[in-house]
Amino acid sequence: MYRRLLASLLRWTLRLDVGINRVYPADFNPLYYTGGLSNLFLTILILSGLFLFFYYVPSYNEAYTTVQYISERVPYGQIIRGIHRYSADGFMIVILLHFFRNWFTERFRFSRDEPWISGMMLLVFAGFIGVTGYVLVWDQRAELLVVMTGNALAAIPAVGGWLRNLLFGGPGLTNLLLPRMLFLHVGPAVLLYVLLWWHYVRLRHPKVWPPAVWTLFSLGVVLLLSGLIPAASQPQASPTTPPRQLAVDWLFLLPYVSLKYLTPLWLIVLATVIIVYGLYIPYQLPETRAEMGLRESGIAQVIDANCTGCELSYYDCPYNAIVMAPSPHPGVTKAAQARKLLAIVLESRCVECGICIGACPFEALELPHFLEQDVQAKVLTACRS
């Protein structure tokens, strides 16, 4: 069932790719750069956020007025605010695209579960940062968000009230609220970079930036939107006029909309289930290679006698599974006599793709169950048939 669903989703993803490649040159296909686009939007967010940070005062009385000051008095303040708002939406869109694309194309297979899990955490934290950002503005929507979050947390049995006090600094609206929200907006943004390191640690030559066409395009759309539809606050929050309605940003505030139909406890249960399922995705298909119709090539092995320490496989291994260590002894072949380094395969990272075999000109690497002789024998039978 799941298998068949995934297969048809893969089919549609590839069909979309083929369609896009008909319009764009293949190396401009934006769906090949969803990760790089996320980095682009994150950079825009950090830079515009720094600008806003210079003016923002996280206090109960001044937060709203400083945001208004940025919008109305600071030159291009309204534009920068719009950039921050819309690139946050763009960030969410591209990381969701990244998520779904890598899901449907099964890029979580074998040893690629760590990028997947760090990616899920990046997704969760990105959503969290977005919500705290909406609170910082401190308009009626922000107040409503705080009330709804507090109610939802309080609905958790046993620890709910404690969690709410931990998040907001006490019951009700306290002076600690906005400084905390500011920290929870900026702190996790720094954490995103830590998680990104984890995201990249198993990747060699990651595509961290989109092609110039898409950098310009994304920047242009964000600027154009912030000029056309200025990011605005709702009326100021005040205890006397309780907030009525929620102006919705569907990308970040979807959980709050669902509170209309769900009780807070169910929402929390549902969110937990979704996140846990997301973390479980790479382990859902416990198929062996044989069940997938692939050969068991075995983890790449370094042939000690032949390795010259030339680092070519180290540069080409797409998953950083090859490291160079100081060579304990010289190799056997002539080329390997004077080596200083020796390649070592980290088995936990190897996906048996064999790219290191193609990279090595000295025949110092092999897939133990699919040797060079096996390939050559196949070539010979093919030539003689």
């Binding site: 291009y76 534009i79 066409v213 310009l216 759309v221 939107l225």
Partner: protein
């Protein structure tokens, strides 16, 4: 893909020229908006939006340069 297809290059070249003109007009618009700005955000909004249009035009110019065969990989 080898060589330059002349018809295609001409068509894309025309679009590149049009987009260049558009971006030139937008740059003039940005300058105008900035010079006549009275401190009211509206002029800055116009300027910011036009910067966006210029960037969009540049992105499509880059794309058409590539598709017309003017730039390689």
């Amino acid at each position: 893909m080898t060589g330059v297809d002349n018809d295609r290059a001409a068509a894309y070249g025309m679009w590149i020229a049009i987009l260049s003109l558009v971006s030139l007009v937008c740059v003039i618009g940005i300058a105008w908006a900035e010079l006549t700005s009275t401190g009211h955000p509206a002029h800055r909004l116009l300027g910011g939006g036009l910067i966006g249009v210029v960037l969009l035009a540049y992105s499509f110019i880059l794309l058409f340069l590539r598709k017309g065969g003017f730039t390689g990989v």
